[in-house]
């Protein structure tokens, strides 16, 4: 195979220039070498064999274009997913900065800081999953998502739900421990504790259902529409109730939230592209 090394090296170079990744090039090179061996055995001369094998694999430019289409840039396979990830990352960074400062100044115990961090990120992840579900339903009503984008959505929502479940569980436990240390008993029956428990159970149910293949991507997204109202209640509703912002305005907000959620759910069940204005048919 020594006579091919130089040619293979320059062939590798053209593939790299066409934008193919190292792993893909390695895979194609293995193929090339196996084909060369086969052609040599069939009696072809070295030059002929290489020309044949190279042409069988196709033009580097064409390959580059096909690969780019096949596995597009992961982060922005679907724009909302990339935005969600970046947003959540920024939240975590901001949270660490704020809590670290409070810790350093001694205005918050480490236990409480961890509890706040866990619950904040857990709730945010749940909210983000819900937001992605909304993006999905709205986008889909104009034009259905490609399988690739749908897959990216499903994967992202699942990961967010999983992270949310873990962090909410951790946050809840830490909160109970803190309550035990500072308030006398670990469970107060506080609306905030109940809210966290509900969010946790909801996320766990989604994960279990997904794990047992009961939900496809679309079903998971539709169910996650609930996340926004649910987490909203658990996070802000309980706080608002404690400060007695007015029961009527609270109920109004809840009513509007559930209404919006139901409308989105109905939209999600409608055929794809139903809101697109038909040009002609």
């Amino acid at each position: 195979m020594a006579e091919y090394e130089e040619r293979i090296a320059s062939w590798r170079h053209t593939l790299a220039q066409a934008g193919l990744s190292g792993e893909v090039i390695e895979e194609l090179e293995t193929h090339l070498r196996e084909e060369l061996a086969r052609l040599e055995q069939a009696g072809h001369g070295a030059d002929e064999a290489f020309a044949l094998a190279e042409s069988r694999l196709g033009q580097p430019a064409a390959l580059g274009a096909e690969f780019a289409r096949a596995a597009p840039n992961r982060l922005f396979t679907w724009l909302p997913v990339g935005v969600a990830r970046i947003g959540l990352l920024l939240l975590c960074v901001g949270l660490i900065v704020v809590l670290a400062r409070l810790l350093v100044v001694g205005r918050m115990s480490p236990l409480l800081a961890c509890h706040v961090a866990a619950v904040t990120v857990g709730y945010s992840a749940t909210l983000v999953a819900g937001a992605l579900a909304v993006c999905y339903v709205v986008t889909r009503s104009f034009r259905d998502l490609t399988p690739m984008k749908l897959h990216a959505l499903g994967r992202e929502v699942f990961v967010l739900t999983f992270v949310a479940a873990v962090l909410t569980a951790v946050g809840l436990v830490l909160g109970c421990v803190w309550a035990g240390q500072n308030l006398g008993s670990w469970w107060q029956g506080d609306p905030r504790e109940i809210g966290a428990l509900v969010v946790l159970i909801w996320n766990v149910l989604l994960i279990v259902a997904h794990g047992r293949n009961l939900l496809d991507e679309r079903a998971l997204a539709l169910l996650c529409l609930t996340n926004l109202v649910l987490t909203g209640c658990a996070w802000f509703g309980t706080v608002a109730a404690q400060h007695a912002y007015g029961i009527s305005s609270l109920f109004l907000a809840l009513f509007l939230g559930v209404l919006a959620q139901s409308l989105l759910f109905a939209l999600g069940l409608a055929p794809a592209g139903c809101l697109r204005r038909r040009r002609s048919m």
């Binding site: 390695e26 895979e27 293995t30 084909e35 064409a62 897959h151």
Partner: protein, 111 residues
Amino acid sequence: MARMKLAKELMAASAVPMVLSILAEGESYGYALIQRVRELSGGQIEWTDGMLYPVLHRLEALGYVKARWGEGESGRRRRYYALEARGREALEGHKEQWRIVQRALLELWGA
């Protein structure tokens, strides 16, 4: 028998169901897949070898197949692909579609 050139669209449409069906027989790698297609079609179907790989990568991105690096015979690394549950479901979908088309055409052609 002279080799027929299959229409580009036909090759493209049949690529995914063919790859999924071959992988349903067991884990395989790119080169072997191409040989199998050649063998199945008696040499009639000749894919542009390089075009198979984007298809495999796309199937991997969709979660239909799972890929791993393994050792080939010459000591070089080879990428092996295995069918996943979602891939099997997708394959069933493809099969149904092809059967529908086949039934209609065969009836028209009086076969």
